[in-house]
Amino acid sequence: MDKKQFYEAFADIVEADPASISGSKNLKEVEGWDSLAAVGFLAMADKEFQTRVDPSKLQKCNTVDDLAALFGDKISD
């Protein structure tokens, strides 16, 4: 998956317009980013990236790019 696709997948989870999601966007400013979205995100991580993300790492993420960074090189630029 590339970054653009990741932003789209993220927009899908938070039910936001993909155009409003950029890498530098602060998660606190994303309206749909709540605890349920986080659960959906963890499920996506498992399904799409076969990665178990530690919820505490998730909590430390501030921006959308921080979330992308959780998957390292599984997300190409």
């Binding site: 989870i13 039910e15 605890s35 349920l36 979205a37 659960v39 959906g40 963890l42 499920a43 996506m44 178990r52 530690d54 919820p55 505490s56 998730l58 909590q59």
Partner: protein, 252 residues
């Protein structure tokens, strides 16, 4: 005089016996004198469970309950090996936390298949002529999530509530055949499955969950004892009901 809680002379099938509640139930049933058939998908782990039990009084029977269409035939062939069953504990199940927006048809179907459809198929299997002994008892592991809800548990709740609903009709239908059917509804129990779920929660969320259990988180043994009771002669007047074993969770 034999204790009404004794399971001496009874052959009981336990699904999901590779780990958690199923494994502990198999151990407890044996302690009460039952002949136990331990089933699950993982033969190695079933062997581990069998090791904890006196090995002459246990049969290891690997089977993937996802093949729901084959369960009835499987029970028949199992009975040919071990004789009529006095009970079955359906402890095999899966859990997933998925919010509605992420809940696919496929996830929902998968949960229903293993948790619910398999339970019905087991009942159908054990009901066959020659497959059940007198005083047969079917126990489904439901969950408090089948009685109360929680965000992210739509599919899981549905599958566990389905067991509770089906159990009532099953009990009425099978009563004339001397087969009792009941559910157990545990709250959070310390198992591998719940550890996986816990891994998806933050420390705060975990604290909240713990706070909802007045008597703390349960152990697999707490649930195993409930199964033992329902399978025993002591419960001969109990059918079509759900035994809530939850440390006070649903009292709130």
């Amino acid at each position: 005089m034999q204790s009404p809680f004794s399971l001496q002379g009874r052959s009981i099938l336990v699904t999901g016996a590779s780990a958690g509640i199923g494994a502990e139930t198999a151990v407890v049933l044996r302690q009460l004198g039952a002949y136990v058939i331990v089933s699950g998908r993982n033969k190695e782990r079933l062997t581990e469970t069998a090791k904890r039990i006196d090995s002459t009084e246990v049969t290891i029977e690997p089977f993937d309950l996802e093949s729901t269409g084959q369960i009835v035939g499987w029970i028949k062939s199992l009975v040919q090996k071990v004789g009529p069953l006095s009970g079955v504990v359906h402890s095999a199940g899966i859990q997933e936390i998925l919010p509605l927006r992420s809940l696919s048809d496929e996830s929902l179907a998968r949960m229903m298949k293993t948790n619910f459809h398999a339970g019905i198929a087991l009942a159908k299997g054990i009901r066959q002529k020659g497959c059940h002994a007198p005083g047969c008892s079917i126990v489904f592991l439901s969950s408090v999530m089948g009685l109360v809800g929680q965000p992210g548990r739509i599919a899981y709740s549905a599958s566990k509530a389905a067991l509770i609903g089906a159990c009532r009709s099953l009990a009425l239908e099978l009563a004339p055949e001397d087969i009792r059917v009941n559910c157990i509804a545990p709250a959070l129990v310390e198992t591998e499955m719940s550890a996986q779920t816990k891994a998806q929660l933050t420390e705060d969320q975990m604290r909240q969950v713990n706070a909802m259990h007045p008597l703390g988180i349960g152990s697999p043994q707490d649930v195993a004892y409930a199964a033992a009771y329902l399978l025993s002669p002591a419960a001969k007047w109990v059918t079509g009901t759900t035994l809530v074993i939850d440390g006070g969770y649903t009292a709130a």
